[in-house]
Subunit: 372 residues, 2 copies
């Protein structure tokens, strides 16, 4: 058995995105203990920088020690009590996963369905809340990674609060890529991932909870069903003013990587990062449209960082992606669910959103599609 | 905000242990996609090498994408159904954590208690099984990280099977450090961590399940309460002959690190690794005893890789550990629970178990204790 030396790819799928060399080398720094005073100082910096990224003052802002799916489960397992009614907005894969979470927490799910590729309809959310006055929570996805549609977080949160509901927001693909203002928009709980627009390695899930959400967690009648994700325990390690009591062994080196990616986000500035994602999207769009390739999502709700496009008629999905990978070391994403074989997902996230990559991706696609 | 440059420590606490430079640099290799054919090839190698480390042919042997606590929860959430009676052996912190897991899964816990610092008593396990013929599972810790006591896996598994129970074994601190034969000893399910005797970074939890355990998972009456840890779903990504269907985004770079640590384990050979841990323990023991320092755990059940020793009378626990850290960049562990302030835990795990470290640790301790 030999050491594994991965090929050097350009990652323009739905994530992981390309990881900047600064982040890779930060991760390779010597491991120290998860209770080391120097590590605890770094944890505080990570929390402060995540507050900046989420645009929140929530003290309970931290990375869960596992991928985005565990961040999702952290929100649902802590906030949904058995018997709670939850409005779940489904317009793609990740809305469906939210429903799975509600059911496994013993909650009752009220589905608000929108077509894949469209945004969540605030009107439908309002109607569901009127029809279900006993609902406790509204859950929805900001940036649907399976389609590339962006939903209106601010409006949906306003509607939810008017009906005395808390909100759970999936920001896995939005954080760092498009505007996201947790405090100003009234988001109660939110989770994200590190491997999308933050350009960090996969494995952590930044989350944030406001006081209203934490109140619900503190006053639960039953214990959180997950010991690993129970915020009442995790707060003893990550919480403000906490004693940094041992709960589990933090993924030390992956946290070095997240720290570095957040330093880079601060250096660039959130608004500049958003503008770069937008500019690279526009460049990609012009090139793709020149090739006659059409977008799935209407321009009004289209995410700049996740470009779902229809596969041209007669083109073999798998053959093209395979040739891009083997000939050019370029990864683009396949469609999920109903869109399998019909759609490609081209990611322009984080460090993947550069001028070089856009030119390269367009040229490689042109070559493989035989339109040189 | 600036990049984080950790101090260079020598890690001789209860984990994380020192990570070998080969493993750190493997982790810094370029990220590729979690569905990339090259990544999937690497996953197969990780599985094969974990089978070697666990001494098992179980096809369902893989790393959970989160720390050891999540590996523990993977076993309990999948195997314990609401109403199941579980015998939980408690002789330290991690037995208590098992009880928490059982209760949060809706199981009924029958505690078998032994003094902290002693091994689990097979006789008490047998008595509990006789008194509870409806028990379904026996759960216990092989190597108690909070005390350094080693329990008899083979005997306890035999007793459990005689009473038609499945077993859940905590091997977080044992894997790679002492003999562990999953198949020969009849272990049904087991979890470990990467940051102990494998000398890898923290963040992953190797697990293994035999067919009897998987049968119970497949035939559950209720869904596994955790979506993230549901083996029925995870098997679609990691399972033998699986389609490698997307479940969650694997922590790609941390898996590079685990791969490299397992390559190093194969190079050294399991038996040689065990012998090295034993030899370094003996060397440390001689030095500590020369200083009049006594061990907590009786020699017959003492783990070589986790050395719990009584803090000499009149010595200030925190002051000594703090001086070791600031003057010598040496981390040793504090006592947990009842042993806080009374015991130190000196780890000689993985890459920390070297001649250099033993000499250094003894000399530093002598200096700080004023016994030069």
């Amino acid at each position: 058995m030999q050491s594994f030396n991965p090929p050097v790819r350009t990652l323009m799928g739905p994530g992981p995105s390309d990881v900047h060399p600064r982040i890779l080398s930060a991760m390779a720094r010597p491991t120290i203990g998860h209770l080391d005073p120097e590590f605890i100082r770094m944890m505080d910096e990570v929390k402060a920088m995540l507050q900046y990224a989420f645009q929140t003052k929530n003290p309970m802002t931290m990375p869960v020690s596992a991928p985005g799916s565990a961040g999702m489960e952290t929100c649902f397992a802590n906030l949904v009590e058995p018997g709670d009614k939850v409005i779940v907005c489904i317009n793609g894969v990740f809305g469906n996963r939210m429903r799975e979470n509600v059911e496994r927490c013993g909650g009752t799910c009220v589905e608000v369905k929108d077509d894949w590729g469209t945004a969540v309809s605030p009107e439908k959310v309002e109607a569901a809340l009127v029809a279900n006055p006993d609902a406790k929570i509204v859950a929805f996805v900001h940036a649907e990674t399976s389609t590339g549609a962006c939903s209106d977080v601010k409006t949906i949160c306003e509607i939810a609060h008017k009906h005395n509901c808390l909100t759970i927001v999936d920001a896995v693909t939005s954080l760092g890529g498009v505007e996201l203002k947790v405090d100003e928009w009234g988001v109660d709980s939110i989770y994200s991932g590190t491997q999308k627009c933050l350009s960090c390695v996969p494995g952590l899930s930044p989350v944030s909870f406001n006081e209203a959400a934490l109140d619900k967690v503190r006053n639960r009648k039953t214990k959180v069903q997950s010991w690993f994700l129970d915020l009442n325990l995790v707060m003893g390690y990550w919480g403000q003013g906490a004693k940094r009591a041992y709960h589990h062994t933090a993924p030390v080196n992956t946290l070095y990587a997240l720290h570095e990616s957040l330093v880079m986000l601060k250096e660039e500035g959130l608004e500049n990062a958003h503008a770069r994602h937008r500019a690279m999207h526009n460049k990609l769009k012009v090139g793709l449209e020149e090739m006659g390739i059409k977008f799935l999502v209407d321009e009004s709700v289209r995410l700049p960082q996740l470009n779902s496009v229809w596969i041209p008629e007669g083109v073999d999905d798998a053959a093209v992606r395979s040739e891009l990978l083997t000939k050019y070391n370029l990864e683009i994403g396949s469609g999920l669910g109903d869109f399998a074989g019909k759609v490609w997902r081209i990611g322009t996230m984080g460090f993947s959103a550069t001028e070089e990559n856009i030119l390269f991706c367009l040229a490689a696609l042109k070559d493989v599609l035989g339109k040189k």
